[in-house]
């Protein structure tokens, strides 16, 4: 039998909800352990190996200098890197405010002379090359299982190129957007099984933008439903990220 695949699971600044989905595997984790060996997982193990790893999962936002140094080190010692969840993949929740606001908020919380060590929130891909992104806040157990088993069998990973509405329609849910609610299903990446609309909660975009999502016209429509300010707040959740938008604007100027 070939050697076990060496896997590491790292977390940066975040809620740790995505990595907990590994524990949601339960019995399957024992099966997986026949093919993979988790050699570094701070949350679950005392003895942690410094690499090399075949695959490293990284969760969270790089918000400290240690975080940034660490992911660069991991890039050196890992064959493939998977960005686990929205914080790693899209700058997630910390990215919902722009850099200027972030600085002001830090001073409000920690005192007027407080200096942020890392001023801007970026996804991992700003600092290192990422081989695969798993979206979701949190990621779902089936998708995580799909990625891990594909890695074990050497299968090519294929992203799901459809929005939330596809699975929502298949479930024959009532359309919340047509009911005048700010449902973000049409522009949000699918794969969650249309979880929120299925329990009568509007989709708030926690899988991030779908591939090719036509965001501007949708924003116009949403503005008619809930007003311009609220439409823009709703998109500044998981769909567009003020931190990144600011960066793009500055790039254009330069």
């Amino acid at each position: 039998m070939k050697d076990k695949i060496k896997v590491a699971i790292f977390d940066l600044t975040d809620c740790e909800g995505c990595e907990l989905q590994f524990l949601a595997f339960r019995e399957k984790l024992l099966d997986l352990e026949k093919s993979i060996e988790i050699t570094n997982w701070r949350l679950a193990k005392a003895k942690n190996d410094n690499g090399p790893f075949d695959v490293a999962f990284i969760e969270g936002s790089p918000l400290t200098l240690d975080d940034i140094e660490m992911i660069k080190e991991i890039r050196q010692s890992a064959g493939a890197i998977v960005a686990l969840g929205d914080c790693a993949s899209l700058a997630g929740i910390p990215g919902i405010v722009n850099p200027r606001e972030r600085e002001a908020l830090a001073r409000k919380v920690y005192g007027k002379n407080y200096e942020l060590a890392v001023k801007r929130v970026y996804p991992l891909s700003h600092y290192i090359t990422i081989d695969y992104h798993i979206r979701g806040c949190p990621v779902t157990e089936p998708e995580l299982e799909y990625v891990v088993s594909s890695l074990i069998w050497g299968k090519v990973l294929s992203p799901k190129p459809f929005p939330v509405c596809l699975q929502c329609k298949a479930k024959e849910n009532h359309c919340l957007l047509l009911e005048g609610k700010a449902c973000l299903g049409p522009i949000t990446k699918g794969g969650c099984g249309a979880l929120c609309p299925s329990v009568s909660h509007r989709c708030y975009g926690c899988y991030g933008p779908a591939k090719g999502a036509n965001i501007e016209p949708f924003k116009k429509h949403l503005s008619e439903v809930v007003g311009r300010d609220e439409a823009s707040r709703q998109l500044h959740f998981f769909i567009t990220n003020p931190s990144m938008e600011e960066e793009n604007k500055e790039k254009k100027k330069a």
Binding site: G17, L43, E69, I93, C196
Partner: protein, 412 residues
């Protein structure tokens, strides 16, 4: 790779490093999480976003944050929900503590007492117990999923109730599974009565909520020192300070550290534990030994399972279609408090007339416990001279784990 990956305390939620000055017998818990600024992230946003955003403070106790936010917002908007909605919330809060305690007891704390590297090693060392643990983990996850929509970052709980409640027969099927698993949970909890806890006693103040049953949600905070205070007055009673070595704030009450969470609840509300939990706890509490927080969590795991069974009986016949009440959005301010797995969780919001959040304050259980953790660590340094420095550090790390700190929560 450099040491950077190695020196965070393992098997705790979040990033903390232990710094010990042996000559001064002083320990510091350096909290190294990046600034998360949740109290700022919600400003300028619609009140309905607060439960969704604040759940992301913590992947271990998102359901607790969701309901603390909802409680505070309903106080701000003068909303009173009907009894069955309050009961469904209590089921969810009981499930949250059940879920979090299973995770902490068996996946994070047990290795300390069984001298193994990680809980996965339990699969080889004691497969029977490991199967029980996996069963309990599944049960807790699926319970939250059944009512909340998903096990982490639930979606159905909203201001005014739930977007949807499950059919009652699904709850009955779930209750049946709980009853079958209760006997296994009691067996697993008994393990914690047999573990050897390091000897260390230190008097301190304990705080918990006053509730009609064993505490879950309430409007008054009670203290082992006798003086209670209203949740709406929490900012007058609990102070927070910034330490330069930590992105978490440290709380004090009357200038001193105090403790919230499982030990505090069991010490203060022992007589309200459900039957099997009470049998387990008899003769073991009250205690002033912080290591026994793990024992208190084991007792509570059983208690909350029994509580969910009782509450499922109680909501029989309630109209699940009436899952949400209507209300008016208006300006207001309100504080809310629930018993999260790790103790008192305060949320406070101020809204303008359009329901936009203009002020927010959150104090998490771990932030409240941090001062007490450091004081206990100092005490250990005083009584552990006979141990090597490495052994002393290991024991302090074990103490920190026993508190089940949620570092990510403490830096919110």
């Amino acid at each position: 790779m450099k040491e950077i990956l190695g020196h965070y305390i393992t098997k705790i939620e979040g990033h903390g490093k232990l710094k010990v000055d042996f000559s001064k017998e002083r320990a510091e818990l350096n909290v190294d999480e990046g600034e998360r600024l949740f109290e700022g992230l919600v400003l300028g946003r619609n009140y309905e976003d607060a439960p969704l955003i604040s759940a992301r403070i913590c992947g271990v106790c998102p359901t607790a944050h969701t309901f603390a936010a909802i409680d505070a917002l309903e106080n701000a908007l003068d909303i009173k929900v009907p009894e069955h909605i309050a009961d469904y919330r209590k089921i969810m809060l009981s499930l949250q503590t059940f879920q979090s305690h299973v995770l902490h007891l068996f996946f994070l704390a047990t290795p300390d007492y069984l001298n193994i590297d990680s809980a996965l090693d339990l699969a080889e060392k004691n497969p029977a117990v490991f199967q029980i643990v996996l069963g309990l983990k599944r049960l807790a996850d699926e319970g939250i999923e059944l009512i909340g929509g998903r096990s982490i970052h639930p979606v159905t709980p909203v201001v005014g109730g739930f977007t949807k409640l499950p059919d009652y027969h699904e709850l009955l099927l779930y209750k049946n599974r709980l009853e079958k698993n209760l006997v296994h949970a009691i067996e697993a909890a008994k393990l914690f009565a047999k573990f050897h806890y390091p000897h260390m006693e230190r008097e301190r103040e304990y705080l918990s909520l006053q509730d009609s049953s064993y505490p879950l949600i309430g409007e008054e905070v009670i203290s082992s020192m006798g003086k209670s205070f209203k949740v709406s007055d929490y900012q007058k009673n609990i102070s927070e300070k910034v330490n330069s070595y930590s992105t978490a704030k440290f709380s004090t009450k009357d200038g001193k550290g105090f403790m919230v969470g499982s030990i505090a609840r069991v010490n203060l509300k022992f007589q309200l534990l459900n039957k099997n939990a009470l049998d387990l706890a008899k003769g073991l509490f009250p205690t002033n030994n912080p290591f026994k927080n793990n024992l208190a969590q084991a007792v509570e795991m059983v208690h909350y399972m029994e509580e969910i069974i009782l509450l499922i009986d109680k909501v029989k016949g309630a109209d699940v279609a009436a899952s949400r009440i209507s209300y008016e959005v208006k300006a207001g301010k309100g504080a809310g408090c629930i018993e999260a797995p790790r103790g008192l969780l305060f949320h406070y919001y101020e809204l303008n007339s359009k329901g936009i959040i203009i002020n927010c304050d959150i104090i998490t259980p771990t932030a409240q416990n941090l001062t007490s953790i450091e004081d206990d660590a100092d005490e250990l340094l005083k009584i552990n001279h006979h141990l090597s420095r490495k052994e002393q550090e290991q024991q302090i790390e074990m103490l920190i784990r026993a508190y089940d700190p949620c570092i990510t929560c403490s830096v919110h």
